[in-house]
Assembly symmetry: C2
Homo-oligomer: 543 residues x 2
């Protein structure tokens, strides 16, 4: 193609002065990710709207924040422009764009002429299609592995975190160099086999943070997935791929793991339901370890009913999790000292829910800093034993932050490890004694999802530490832990992005005694049905 | 979710009378695929525009035809509506929708109030995302199989038609029941292995018509892919999945097969470059047969350069295809008796190109009907030998039309087969004698892509017969055959949908003597460079 710069402009009549200049200035700003120029292309005010397939952002300031936070800079060029002029000073432009690979996309903008020239009031973007979003998926099938043509989960598809063995595939663990050397597995991991036998089908193998040793979901070489519930924000990890696949409505549930929060963090950041199961309740055969003392199987879903259906299939029946246990009868406690770890709005959401559900406040004297340090020591010591040899033999294979974490883990001495493990035994005892057979309500995470860009490693490390200090409690005590979306307005369907217009997602956490996994989910289902309010917005019945 | 009917309507001020009624009437019509109601929702006139990620349709009539032809009825519901009112009688509506699976989508409409109420002037749809388009892909990876980290095709990804063995995967041949019983292959098919060694990576395994025994691309149980170059039209087959993946810009090239036109038909229908290679030039080890006497390896790409690069990797060097042969020096002939088989516009496009390139008209006395009947007989006889046993043992596994074709094939006697094969030998001799060492220009297909819906099986059978009568000529003579897009306006990039606004794609065919595969591509590259015209539309330089 010799004339790649030629762009057709198709309009029913003469174009108003300045319109195309404004359009091209906007396009240049987009390609250069020139946030100030983009800000000035958009109309000031609360009604300005920017939308794409993963969400709607409303208001000039929110759009500006979205642009500043996102990592992906659009890489496409305009090839044809359709202009419509419905009124004086109003233009609608539909621009056909194409990615470097040749994939087509669309951009529609409502332009309005004000005192300071043409400005965008509404923008709708259809990004050029990727055949596979490699930040979310490593392999996808239609399905990849069909489930048994019977069973309680028949018809449901799920994403498998790239830590579980899937027969016919290697385990990649989010590390390209590891995948390249990994053997093709001949048997499914235990949890995978049980789910297939229950009738669920594997849609594909989804991405994880490198060796699952992160809670932000930034990913390795494959890049960072978008957070469908909070455009421009991190998705949370390490079960990042399965969570995003659920939040996008691509699968019914996502199978993952939770060592220190790897289910609960993406669940909280993306407005999903997620469970970390009681340590040891589900076999970890065929699961790549991170820290075996804390590694548990978990899963995420867009609604509590699906979460429960998977629990019924995966969790062994025992007296403590018996089907007969009535929902909603467990006593609820809350620990103000934990709630105060969270950002104000989250602490308020937890306190409000605690009030609404009549939770008893529990005063405790837990040394969170010391416990977290001990947890980090034992986790790091085990993680290095799981992966240190490979990492040492393959320098440069990991991202800087995960590599640094393993590097610190490599230097933990056996004495430090033994001492930390003793402290964790005491901590576990303290937590179990406090919780008894009750359910503990707490923030699932102390913050909302951090921005995907424009935030430094130190600031991210602070958020990580604040997060793990809370989430490690269930892990070190071996307890089941749930995250449940708190701020989902009524009428918002499963998987629907919350978007900036409705605020960032907030996850409520629930921790129960060992084996109470299913009862926890039933309790949350019952509690959310009770607490469901109405959105403050005007409602219109779908005719 | 108890209140699934609640829809938020967010507007900066009071809504004008009748707007939301018109919006909901349109939405009901969409969900019911009520074409007359949709027609009346859209503004009459040539400027009305409807666009989605796969193309733009301009004009009320073209939009109506698009709606009537497409098979896919949108299945989603509106959950939130944003209204903007830039001028009196003008409204922009951005509707957030969600698929039954919970995947979010967007619809933006420009509404204008006329004498007869509110009508849509522009509509932009972002369909809820599917993680994998199962009509195009069976398995996808990031990549599925990496190519060697060196070689001439390094960095290119390709789609593999689901007839070639890919180690670690079974061959499905577009038939779900066949796939379920198929063994996982341990070695790559010859052509797949050569391409990986040349540095190209497998993006995934793409769909085919059932056992490749169709040229329409309607697919089996997996459904019919959209034609990215002609919304609402069939994509052509049997190499349907790889072709659509190329046309969408998802891969650099698609590896397929051509027995009777299975590369050339989708190439022509989708505005792609495609080659059927000289019979026997590329080994078919690891390729599921349809009719081994005619089965050839072929591929499709968005541009001639990529087509040639793959040819350099896959085709053995020999004297007749030597690198040294200069492009554009071959003598070109055309056969008016073949051109007249095509629809008028296509015949005119071929005649125009023949004139422009100084082709010599060739008078021949070829009995196309008899040759086609003989070809069909031999093809059917071989196809039954390849797949009859499995088909007989698995009744109901195939779509009605392909099943009927195999059923007829099953009844071909050995005598009919022997007689037909003798006739084909004479036909091959006649064609080779006429073509000599020259290149034959002909229509790649006699028609454009048929509508995907609203066309009966008899009408499709007529198009199929007309198509194969032309495309079987290269097949029965074992000659290489190219399809090259004829109607691509200047400035339109690779993979860009042509859309209705610019007319349906038209493929020019080129057939050469045995072994002239690469020379054919070079000739076409040189000829299209010579013939490239300018679009009649206004051009604007991208600043």
């Amino acid at each position: 193609m010799s004339d790649t710069n030629a762009v057709e402009v198709l309009a029913p009549g003469p174009l108003p002065a300045g319109l195309m200049d404004a359009f091209w200035a906007y396009d240049r700003a987009l390609l250069g990710n020139d946030v100030p120029a983009l800000d000035s292309s958009f109309a000031r005010g609360a009604d300005t709207l920017r939308a794409d397939g993963s969400g709607v952002v409303v208001g000039h300031r929110a759009i500006s924040e979205f642009r500043a936070a996102r990592t992906a800079i659009p890489n496409r060029r305009v090839v044809r422009v359709h202009v419509r002029l419905p009124a004086d000073g109003v233009a609608l432009i539909v621009a056909e764009v194409v990615s470097p690979a040749g994939a087509p996309g669309l951009q529609t903008q409502l332009w309005q002429r004000g005192a300071d020239g043409w400005r965008v009031g509404v923008a709708h973007v259809t990004a050029p299609a990727r055949p596979l979003d490699g930040t979310v998926w490593r392999v996808l099938g239609a399905p990849l592995v069909p489930g048994r043509d019977a069973g309680p989960l028949r018809g449901l598809t799920f994403a498998v975190k790239d830590l579980f063995a899937v027969a016919g595939h290697a385990v990649g663990a989010g590390v390209a160099g590891y995948l390249a050397q990994a053997r093709v597995r001949t048997e499914h991991a235990h949890a995978v086999g049980v789910l297939l036998e229950a009738g669920a089908s594997i849609a594909g193998i989804a991405q994880t943070d490198e060796f699952a040793y992160s809670v932000h979901g930034r990913g390795g070489r494959q890049g960072t997935p978008d957070n469908p519930a909070a455009p421009g924000r991190l998705p949370g990890g390490s079960t990042s791929g399965p969570a995003v696949a659920v939040a996008r409505g691509e699968v019914a549930f996502g199978l993952g793991t939770d060592t220190a929060g790897s289910i609960r963090v993406p669940g909280s950041y993306q407005g999903l339901w997620g469970i970390r199961t009681t340590t040891g309740a589900i076999g970890t055969e065929g699961l790549l370890p991170l820290a075996p003392s804390f590694d548990t199987v978990g899963w995420l879903a867009g609604d509590g009913g699906t979460l429960l259906a998977v629990a019924e299939a995966l969790l062994p029946e025992d007296a403590r999790t018996g089907h007969a246990e009535p929902a909603g009868h467990a006593e609820l406690v809350t620990v103000p000292a934990l709630n105060s770890q969270a950002d104000r709005e989250i602490a308020e959401a937890v306190a409000g829910t605690a009030d609404a559900l009549g939770a008893t406040a529990l005063e405790v004297a837990w040394d969170l800093d010391s416990w977290y340090a001990a947890f980090r020591t034992v986790q790091g010591w085990e993680a290095w034993r799981a992966h240190g040899a490979w990492i040492a033999a393959n320098p440069g294979a990991l991202s800087a932050d995960v590599a640094a974490r393993f590097d610190r883990a490599a230097r933990i001495t056996d004495e430090e490890h033994a001492s930390a493990r003793r402290e964790l035994a005491d901590a576990s005892e303290a937590i179990r004694t406090a919780v008894q057979d009750r359910f503990l309500l707490l923030p699932a995470t102390p913050t909302g999802p951090p921005p995907a860009a424009g935030i430094g490693p130190e600031a991210l490390a602070v958020i990580r530490d604040r997060t793990l200090r809370l989430t490690c409690l269930a892990s070190l005590a071996g307890l089941p832990a749930l995250t449940v979306p708190a701020a989902k307005p009524a009428g918002m369907p499963t998987g629907m992005p919350l978007g900036r217009a409705s605020g960032l997602p907030v996850g409520l956490g629930l921790v129960g005694p060992p084996g109470s996994d299913r009862a926890l989910i039933r309790f949350a289902l019952s509690a959310t049905a009770t607490a469901a309010g109405r959105s403050p917005h005007a409602q219109e019945e779908h005719p």
